[in-house]
């Protein structure tokens, strides 16, 4: 993941949102008791009508369960899950499916993987990943996690892994500053570092260095513990060459007052002095600073305000995760010069999220139950494909490395084994954990999709010629799909099993014919032919994307 986006920041600094058009009064929004799904559809469909666009039809059941299982459980559904869902005549089956997935052992794993991808490019160390998993098993919320990351308790055995976020960035104040701003506040501010913004008069270097000042006292001790000093000011040079001392300044331009060293008594100053000297040599993690600038950042960022950078960015990132595109895009350019596609919806969701304690399950549930989420990704109507910002056609989204690797394991596993493990409530949590651990290694070979992501030839070569694909996933032993298929005597049934297992749907007649012919031409080497056929399913774009 690149950390270099900067962007036109900010006018955000003076914190009216959105400047163009003005912020809506709460009274102008749909009532708070509206369901999230209804609010999404109300606002999204209003813009579609304005643009005279009729959205794509809803997807069929097989497509829906694949999509939503990838989004909430981080993997494709098993054959049994697809069959049960498609065959169910229950009128509330969609809601039941979504509720089951959100309550499943899969959810905290997937949530952990998404947050690890966001904060650590999907490469966080094991103890960090375990900590995140635990956090989501316990339903910890985003503000709480933010506080833990900014003020990690390194001496506490349980909470210690939270230090990973800052520790891996502590050597570079720009990384701490810009990543924190980008990931939690939706604002990339590093382009205000070298000069005031040339186009936006309000945007000054003061803001970059104001934000950096929250981190300028943070350092790693000789024993590599995270520590924070009680003193130290950041200075910077303006374009005109003038040297300035940075003020502690949040994105909203909120100034933070802090105790001045000059006002301290000699005894207090001595205490600060001694602590700082001792901290660097300590064999155990140092105590927090007497006055922690990072604690000030947490306070100012989490001040109750549904319109805060923190809340809006939380909404926008989750929306993008589900729809493949944020209400504001790019995700780190949430400022007044870059309006949301649906300003009222963003505001409504931000209010909803704040008043429901940043409950991510609740938010995701509402988003995936909207009609907008269920649209087909095919555009088959007359006229041009509508702009992405209208959400009239579903996006075709590349799987993350973890989704891909987990799905690979599900797709190539023995379907009956999987069904058994899923049916037994005491087995699936362990099975899922094992799958996670196995998938992690494979996932490290794949690139995390970012903006404008493209699949590289190295991935295609890995699948075409890599030993792991052939010898592990496509092995013809009984615990694998290929082994099961080998034992199925009816060719058409066998092809169906493979399609269901890998692509979560039945084959169409042309596909059945093409595959049948492929296999018929290779009756002298039928096991190899089956494995080649399964390979062609695994490498098809249909498997590589959530569509």
């Amino acid at each position: 993941m690149r950390f270099d986006r900067c962007g036109f920041l900010i006018a955000l600094l003076f914190a009216t949102w959105p400047l163009a058009g003005g912020r809506l009064e709460a009274a102008d929004l749909l009532p708070p008791e509206t369901s999230i799904a209804d609010a999404v559809d109300f606002y999204v469909e209003a813009v579609q009508r304005e643009s005279q666009v009729t959205p794509a039809p809803e997807v069929d059941d097989a497509n829906f369960i694949r999509r939503v299982t990838l989004d909430l459980a981080g993997r494709i559904p098993s054959v049994a899950e697809v069959r049960d869902y498609v065959q169910s005549t229950e009128p509330q089956k969609k809601q039941q499916l979504v509720d089951r997935l959100l309550a499943s052992p899969d959810f905290p794993y997937h949530q952990r993987n998404e947050v690890d991808a966001l904060l650590m490019a999907g490469k966080g160390p094991g103890e960090w990943r375990d900590w995140l998993y635990k956090a989501y098993s316990e339903d910890r919320r985003w503000p709480d996690l933010f506080r833990s990351l900014m003020l990690p308790k390194e001496a506490d055995a349980v909470e210690k892994p939270a230090v990973t976020y800052l520790k891996t960035r502590a050597a570079n104040i720009d990384d701490m500053t810009n990543d924190t701003s980008r990931l939690f506040f939706g604002v990339s501010i590093n382009c205000a570092k070298c000069h005031d913004h040339p186009l936006v008069a309000d945007w000054k270097q003061d803001h970059y260095f104001g934000m950096a000042s929250f981190f300028n006292r943070t350092y790693l001790t000789k024993k590599q513990f995270l520590a924070e000093r009680d003193e130290g000011q950041l200075k910077f040079r303006t374009k005109a060459g003038e040297e300035k001392q940075a003020r502690l300044l949040f994105l909203t331009s909120a100034d933070i007052s802090e105790p001045s060293l000059a006002e301290k008594s000699d005894a207090e100053r001595q205490k600060v002095d001694e602590k700082q000297k001792a901290d660097n040599d300590r064999e155990t993690p140092p105590e927090p600073a007497f006055f922690s600038r990072r604690a000030q950042l947490v306070d100012v960022a989490l001040r109750p305000d549904s319109n805060s950078f923190f809340t809006r960015s939380f909404v926008n990132r989750n929306f993008a995760r589900i729809f493949g595109r944020g209400l504001v895009t790019p995700l780190d350019q949430m400022h007044s010069e870059n309006e949301p596609s649906h300003p009222e919806l963003l505001q409504w969701l931000a209010r909803d999220v704040e008043s429901h304690g940043y409950d991510v399950r609740r938010l995701l549930r509402g988003l995936v139950l909207s009609r907008a989420y269920g649209r087909s990704s095919r555009w088959e109507q007359a006229g041009d494909r509508p702009a992405d910002r209208l959400f009239a056609v579903a996006a075709v989204r590349p799987l993350t490395p973890m989704q891909f690797a987990l799905s690979l394991a599900i797709a190539t596993g023995n379907p009956a084994d999987l069904a058994g493990q899923q049916a037994a409530a005491d087995q699936w949590p362990n099975r899922r954990r094992d799958l996670e651990n196995q998938a992690y290694g494979f996932a490290q070979q794949l690139e995390l999709p970012g903006e404008n992501f493209q699949v590289g030839v190295s991935e295609a070569l890995l699948f075409a010629n890599g030993g792991q694909i052939a010898n592990e996933y496509l092995r013809d032993s009984g615990d694998r799909l290929v082994g099961v298929l080998k034992g199925q005597s009816d060719r058409n049934e066998m092809i169906k099993t493979a399609f269901l297992s890998v692509l979560s749907r039945e084959p169409q007649s042309e596909e059945l014919a093409a595959v049948s012919q492929y296999l018929a031409e290779r009756e002298d080497r039928s096991a190899a032919a089956i494995s080649q056929f399964v390979w062609s399913l695994l490498t098809s774009s249909e498997f590589r994307f959530n569509y």
Binding site: C191, A528, S541, E542
Partner: protein, 434 residues
Amino acid sequence: MAHSFRGWCGSADHGVSRRGFLGSTVAAGSAFAANMTVLNVLKNPALAEEIKRQEKRVILLWLAGGASQLETWDPKPGRPTGGPFRAIDTNVPGIRISELMPKLAQRQQHTAIIRSLNTKNADHGGGTDLMETGRPKEPGINYPDLGAILARELGRADSQVPDYVSMYTSTEGRHKGGSGFLGARYAPMFLDKDLTPDNIRRLESISDLDHQQRMELRNLLSTRFARAREGNTLGSHNSAYARVRGLMASEKLFDLSQEPDSVRARYGPTQFAEQVIVARRLCEAGVPFVKTARAWWDSHGQNFETHLELVSELDHVMSTLLDDLQERGLLDSTLVITLGEFGRTPGINPSLGRDHFANAWSASLSGCGIKGGTAFGKTDEDGNKVVEGEVGAEALFATIFNALGIDHQKNYYLGARPVPLTNPGTEPIQEVLA
């Protein structure tokens, strides 16, 4: 890709042999990618050979860590900053270089020295970014590096060989560069463990025919899926698979054992030398950009011992490369760039080292499009600052583009936004262009 046709007379009657034409088996199922429409002409080996001859290639000799200009192209003998090494005459009157480069001194007619780089950024990470992309980072744009740009400008859309190969050594710090907004299509093929790319060889468990037909079945299924669906990432997935078979056919290019012993002996036994041999093999086969890397030049201590070793090797390997390219008739179409992220301080520190220095340093360009035997720009008598012809990374890149016949003001488009190859106002160094 129209540049590929420049100079082609249009006749299909050239009696060009098939020998040496790589990847004459055009990959099955290359019908996907939007950008793979042009060269059906490849099916005609005569035309393909003709086009290949026109093509231009680049070998980058990356001096990771930052080589000293004073011990290479811009010696200051007899000055307090000069160090122990002398300057020697080259075969071009008036140009003197360090005595550590006696072989290059006899081949100065191929090379233009640029002695007046002031790139300002003397941090490994920042300097590397700058010298890889040719410009400072900018808000909201992830710029491609030189290799990715040249892969796109000089590569063939449906190339059967890789179009950007990047080698590095374990001591280089694993800075990977990348294709930025040009996307993974132009991302380098990295050789990070040995000289053979990962997964380029077919497993023995599948026959070549099955490997090919399995791909055709995959393409059939994937094409059905792509109907009425859109997305750049989706296109890239199919393009990547469409290139697999062709790339596999290029495996022998990476095989040093296919090179005669006499050639290997000539380059020498070092890792850098082997990289350069492979680079030459790749370029000969039409790979437009190959980065080789020699590390680690970061001589904060013992600068002179370090440079005695590294410059001597560079002198030998680069000289051999220039000779080899010339003997094969490739020097006129191959640009050799010798560059690092910055130079080193004229001041010698107490550990007899030189530190990072980006204010007055040197790089060289040899071969394709270059006026050899020139030395552009000047530093002051101690090498502390540029006194004549100051240029930055942008001008160096504009010069490289022009040497290869690429308009340095050409635009790429990010959505509707034009992004020129070099920022407006940038001019190439005409004095070193042929």
